[in-house]
Amino acid sequence: MPALHQTADQQGVFVTQKFSGGVFHADLSDGRAGVEIELLHSHLCASTADGDAFVIPYEECQLEIGGYTGKMLFCRNADRSVTLFSEDKQFPKALALAAGGRLDDQLASQLSKAKGESRRGAIFSFGLVAATLIVLVSLYFGIRAGANRVTQSLPVSLDRELGKAAYQAMPKEGSEITDPLVTEPIQSIVDRLADHAKVEGMDFELHVIDSATVNAYCLPGGTMVVYTGLISAAESPGQLAAVISHEMAHATLRHGLSRISQTLGLTAAVSLLIGDTAGIMAAAEEFFTAASINSYSRQQETEADLEGVRMLHAAAIDPSGMPSLFELLKEEHGELPEALVWVSTHPDHASRIEETQNMIDSLPAKPYKPIDLDWEALKSRVAGDSTKKADVSNSSNESSADSTVDPSELEQENGS
């Protein structure tokens, strides 16, 4: 092996730069060793820590780019018994310079091959990301549409079963009022609207609950719950009818059922598709499920608003109670900050006012029949009921005092 010394090439540039790398050779223990590679006048010279040295003349050099990073340069001698390699970024350039043009063609073809491979890799990765996204997005929308269609084809009796079970399980916020002076006027609104329900066979069953909470909800199948707090808060029978129509629309549009089938469907489909490979995917699944529940219920709220207006109009009740109700809510609660609208389950009041008003304007003019009830009497009766508990002692639900309920949860169900 030649002694190592500083050598100058023809241009007088010193090329004694050292590159760390490795060598493959059969004589080495384990067949390989780490080396320092020097680029000399006519050859590459590599020396190991143990003092072994390996030489490859530039004329013999066969170059190849590869390795884990795809940036490692391998140099082999003619019979391929010695392989030197280095990953140093400067190595290819320095080698080309030291070889004085003898290796330029090989190096250029290897570099372009490596570049082509990495470009193909990048295109493949990009395509893969895009395909995954497309699959996820189409799956998401496909399931939303599919779940909705499936829900509409299920029998209404299923809604009723669900609603009954849910009503039994639900904590009541107060005792039920059976006073006909309170229930009958509200029942008359429900009856007028029920005649124009979108779904056949829905059996609306009214429960008036003595509670200060301003709320009302309609469970799947038509179990309708109105809190006395809502009656006290409403400014007109029209507003009360608006809330009732909105809640009944949730039931006739079968929102509860489609929400359940959608959540179940998404979870099942995502886990089927993704399996249990990684935590990242599990988090994505959770995100998709949460986003779908939230955004869907906002869409459902808008649907219920419009369906409510349609029902009111069909029942010859002035639908302007709907926008005026939102005006009232806007004054009392104000708007959510812009950024929070998306996460909130209800659309913002301004857009609800606008959308319902637009719908009302588009409906054909029709003589509206006033709601046949004594508003002041109903209000004072309700006010009396909430102060004098004794009046409702004939109620069947006495155990309700200790029941607890999360008001925010009910607020979501509620159209107000």
């Binding site: 390989r32 190849e64 390795g67 884990y68 391998f74 392989t83 990765s125």
Partner: protein
């Protein structure tokens, strides 16, 4: 540090003998038994160099633990027995300045001269290689112990070589790694049960495990009763 692999190949544990002042860094939970007088320290840093929170987090992504255990002998000939969680073999790999790319969770222990880092596989490879998203990259000088599921076999690759996904333990960084189909036709590859495979090109050592944990899990999982 001296090492002895006992109960090979299916129940392998490694018995390490350390002299006073010598330190070995192990995977969290790897210690099976040890003689008295070891100084045990748990950090997120590797002794070889660098580390800290960022590397700890990266390690977690690769299937290893955030923390590392460092065992330092305080007297001569103290012994420590370490073993992996899974049934399988352990191999010893002496690092001499090169780099070994290790499948996440296969790293068991190493000398303080070995630096452990993680490297992202690339999106396509990460999805289809049947391994973790990240590889563990071991470089420097010193002893390295790796564990596997099943036995480990070593292959000296010179040219091209193909391994089924999920069977890689480690490979030298002189090998180029890519994902490809097992046969000529993609459909045939999937019908043959091989699907996508890992292809290696170049020259260097490759370590494979005879079995793979996901297949074992799929076989066993449905038979387990929920608790």
């Amino acid at each position: 540090m001296q090492h002895e692999l006992i109960a090979r190949p299916s129940m392998t544990v490694a018995k390490l003998t350390l002299q006073a002042g010598e330190t070995v860094t192990c995977e969290v939970g790897a210690m099976v038994a040890m003689s008295a007088g070891f100084n045990v320290e748990t950090t997120s840093k590797s002794r070889g160099g660098g580390g800290g929170i960022r590397k700890g987090l990266k390690r977690m992504f690769s299937g290893e633990s955030y923390f590392l255990n460092h065992f330092t002998a305080t007297a001569a000939d103290q012994s420590l027995i370490i073993g992996p969680a899974m049934l399988g073999d352990i191999i010893h790999y002496p690092l001499t300045g090169g780099t070994l790319v290790v499948q996440g969770s296969s790293w068991l222990a190493s000398d303080t001269g070995v630096e452990i880092d993680t490297t992202w596989q690339g999106f396509g490879k990460a999805l289809f290689s049947g391994e973790s998203m990240f590889w563990v990259k071991c470089s420097g000088t010193g002893d390295l112990l790796l564990n596997s599921f099943g036995a480990i076999h070593e292959i000296e690759v010179n040219g091209e070589y193909t391994v089924d996904t999920g069977h890689i333990v480690a490979f030298e960084d002189t090998l180029q790694f890519s994902i490809g189909k097992a046969g000529e036709s993609l459909i045939g590859s999937f019908l043959g049960g091989e699907g996508l495979v890992c292809k290696f090109k170049g020259q260097g050592k490759l370590y494979c495990q005879t079995h793979n944990p996901p297949s074992f899990g799929k076989l066993l999982g449905p038979k387990l009763r929920p608790r």
